[in-house]
């Protein structure tokens, strides 16, 4: 297991190196330049030249890349052109916000998706199955952006039920230890702060979690339907076990194998959805900052954030693959 993990981590190095090249080229291929968006309307040619000089944007590309990678190898991701804050520092500061949102979205998707998928598979062809399946189809094709705005419109503007922007009401003046606001509220026993953070989470989490929910429903349904035809389920039923035990031990435990892989993939993909969701709900996380940085052509932030996201994505998938081995004894041995 350890050797497997180490080999996967070693494989990550060339991937990240390749990605850094792509990113480096991509951000510079974006129309517009950082100096101009930094200085805005009143940019003078002299000002632009000065900024380019300071950040080394006048050097030959290869040299720029060389010094970028050299800095990276020392753990230096550079600093934002816009704010001057070191990239890594701002990432660490904003990352908990995104994780909080991502975890809430994934919880929503998993807690609802697995039972729905299971139920649909057990009642194949009936009305509820058809409803669940077509509902999940709509869920898959609805763009996150559209859903986010729709939710905001209905639940906040019309029904005035839930907050629509930020992670917490600033008037609450909560203490933040970990930057996971719900967790902070619980740790400091500021219950109102925790509750407020939680209500702020609802709409963004639903918006972000809907596509994963729909996908988990579909994969679970397919996996359970497959397992239901397996001989060992019939063996379990021939033993007179309770329906509950047959479902849990014999059906779900096998059907969860493909579902786990899906959850892992979805966890990684949440980052791209987070960019849009965080922007719509003014959520202070890495997604919104990344989105703003694209507008500002903030090269170091774009490069650094995407690299860091790639590393985290790879780690998530590695964790899922290792968890797979824990659940499936056949993988463990080989």
């Amino acid at each position: 297991m350890l050797r497997f993990a180490l080999r996967r981590l070693a494989l990550l190095v060339p991937v990240l190196l390749g990605l850094s090249v792509l990113l480096f080229v991509w951000v510079r291929a974006l129309p517009g330049e950082p100096a101009r968006s930094l200085l805005g309307q009143r940019a003078t040619p002299e000002g632009i030249a000065r900024v380019n000089e300071v950040y080394g944007f006048n050097d030959p590309l290869l040299q720029q890349y060389g010094s970028y990678v050299w800095a990276l190898l020392r753990g230096d991701f550079g600093s934002s052109i816009k704010t001057g804050q070191p990239v890594l520092e701002s990432f660490i500061e904003k990352f908990p916000g995104t994780v909080e949102l991502g975890v809430a979205a994934l919880l929503f998707a998993v807690v609802l998706g697995i039972p729905l998928g299971y139920y649909a598979a057990r009642h194949q062809g009936r009305l509820l199955d058809t409803t669940i399946v077509s509902g999940s189809l709509i869920g898959v094709v609805t763009p996150v952006f559209f859903l986010a705005i729709l939710l905001k419109l209905v639940f906040a503007n019309w029904l005035d039920l839930l907050p629509t922007s930020q992670r917490q009401d600033p008037r609450i003046d909560a203490t933040h230890i970990t930057n996971f606001y719900v967790l902070d509220g619980l740790l400091t026993r500021e219950w109102d702060a925790a509750l407020d953070a939680l209500t702020h989470l609802v709409l963004p989490a639903v918006a972000l979690g809907t596509i994963p929910l729909a996908i988990i429903v579909r994969i679970t349904r397919a996996a359970v339907a497959d397992v239901l035809n397996e001989d060992y389920v019939r063996t379990a039923e021939s033993k007179g076990l309770s329906r509950m035990l047959v479902s849990r031990r014999h059906i779900l435990r096998n059907a969860m194998l493909p579902v786990m892989t899906t959850i892992g993939l979805q966890a990684g993909l949440l980052f791209s959805g987070a960019v849009l969701t965080e922007s719509v709900f003014a959520w202070n996380g890495i997604g919104r900052f990344l989105f703003d940085s694209i507008g500002q052509r903030d090269y170091p932030v774009l490069q650094g954030y995407i690299l860091l996201i790639a590393i985290i994505y790879a780690l998530i998938n590695l964790t899922v693959d290792m968890a797979y081995g824990v659940v499936d004894p056949r993988v463990r041995v080989s």
Partner: protein, 341 residues
């Protein structure tokens, strides 16, 4: 001992299957009868065989008795009386109390019939825990004991292993242990050895025979191999294309088969005492060459005794001298002697 344990009187059948029919086909589509008006009784401790080629409806019959047929696209009719209760109409709860404790089943394919992600021990112990109301550790101990009895060496260690770590023969032994774990009054064994190597087949059959004898269970043995029947069963039902075509006790069936299909099955058993060089004669054609029973005898396309009458109407099942036969032109005494090997 278990005769006394059984509340059933020895003369009353333990299981009585009456006019069981199973039709497959979704609504709107034309359905076909995989099992067609099948009736048989099993007395406590009796060993009955259902014999027939692939596709004759043996497994479907067994699954119908166990209540394990899929719920969609299947129509089941008739009665399956277990000690007077109709299993086809009794509620789920009652059925799941009987399954595994009073009626148990050993399945055809050991490679797919065990859950790959659950330990052997758990799969054996769970049935014990469910029906005998014992603690987890007691159930586990009983599991070790059961595995030892079906001839699995080092049972304690095997309990912690997963199915893929065991050979096919070992897995089938595990399935037998599961089947007999709660000392059922009726064990249904659906071709328990067909998936195994010939040498392993004999060993596994021996284990099954011993344990069934030890627990005094009645046995419904499903097989396509009359050779298996010879050493194990008292009574035989021969099935063809969903119907019973001949029914007799073992000795009379082997000595004097009346149905041409039974004769054919007997001739295809390999025998040690057959003259050197004599080839086995399989039944010509395949079980898929059949006509619907409504139009005549389903065996007619493959039958050497076929007459015009056979494809005009279906032969009825006629009883005489304690046996039953569905054929217009049965093998006669002399012919059947000759047919028999």
């Amino acid at each position: 001992m278990s005769r006394a344990r059984t509340a059933t009187r020895p003369d009353e059948p333990l299981l009585s299957v009456r006019d069981l029919s199973v039709r497959f086909g979704l609504r709107g589509q034309e359905s076909f009868a995989a099992v067609d008006e099948v009736s048989f009784d099993i007395n406590p401790g009796q060993h009955l065989a259902i014999v027939g080629e692939s596709g004759s409806g043996k497994s479907v019959t067994a699954l119908a008795v166990m209540g394990l047929l899929p719920s969609r696209g299947v129509q089941v009719s008739g009665e399956v009386l277990y000690r007077g209760t109709d299993l086809l109409t009794c509620d789920r709860r009652a059925m799941s109390r009987l399954r595994g404790s009073e009626i148990a089943m050993v399945f055809q394919d050991p490679m797919t019939s065990l859950n790959p992600v659950v330990t052997i021990g758990r799969q054996v112990a769970e049935v014990v825990q469910r029906h005998l109301k014992v603690s987890r550790s007691e159930a586990f101990e009983r599991g070790v004991d059961l595995l030892t009895r079906v001839g699995i060496p080092d049972a304690g260690r095997r309990m912690k292993e997963y199915p893929h770590q065991l050979s096919g023969g070992m897995r089938q032994r595990v399935l037998i242990a599961i089947g007999l774990a709660c000392e059922p009054k009726l064990l249904i064994a659906d071709e328990p050895t067909t998936a195994l190597d010939v040498t392993i087949q004999a060993q596994v059959l021996e284990v099954l025979k011993e344990l069934v004898a030890d627990t005094d269970a009645a046995l419904l043995m499903i097989t396509h191999d009359l050779g298996v029947v010879a050493g194990l069963c008292d009574d035989v039902r021969v099935m063809y294309s969903g119907r019973i075509v001949e029914s007799a006790d073992r000795d009379r069936l082997f000595a004097e088969p009346r149905h041409p299909y039974t004769g054919g099955l007997l001739r295809s058993i390999p025998r040690l005492d057959s003259p050197r060089g004599q080839r086995l004669t399989p039944i010509p054609g395949s079980p898929t060459q059949t006509i619907p029973w409504e139009q005549g005898c389903a065996f007619a396309p493959r039958c050497a005794h076929r007459a015009d009458q056979c494809t005009d109407s279906a032969p009825p099942l006629e009883q005489s001298e304690g046996r039953a036969l569905r054929c217009f032109h049965p093998l006669t005494g002399a012919a059947s002697q000759q047919e028999a090997p």
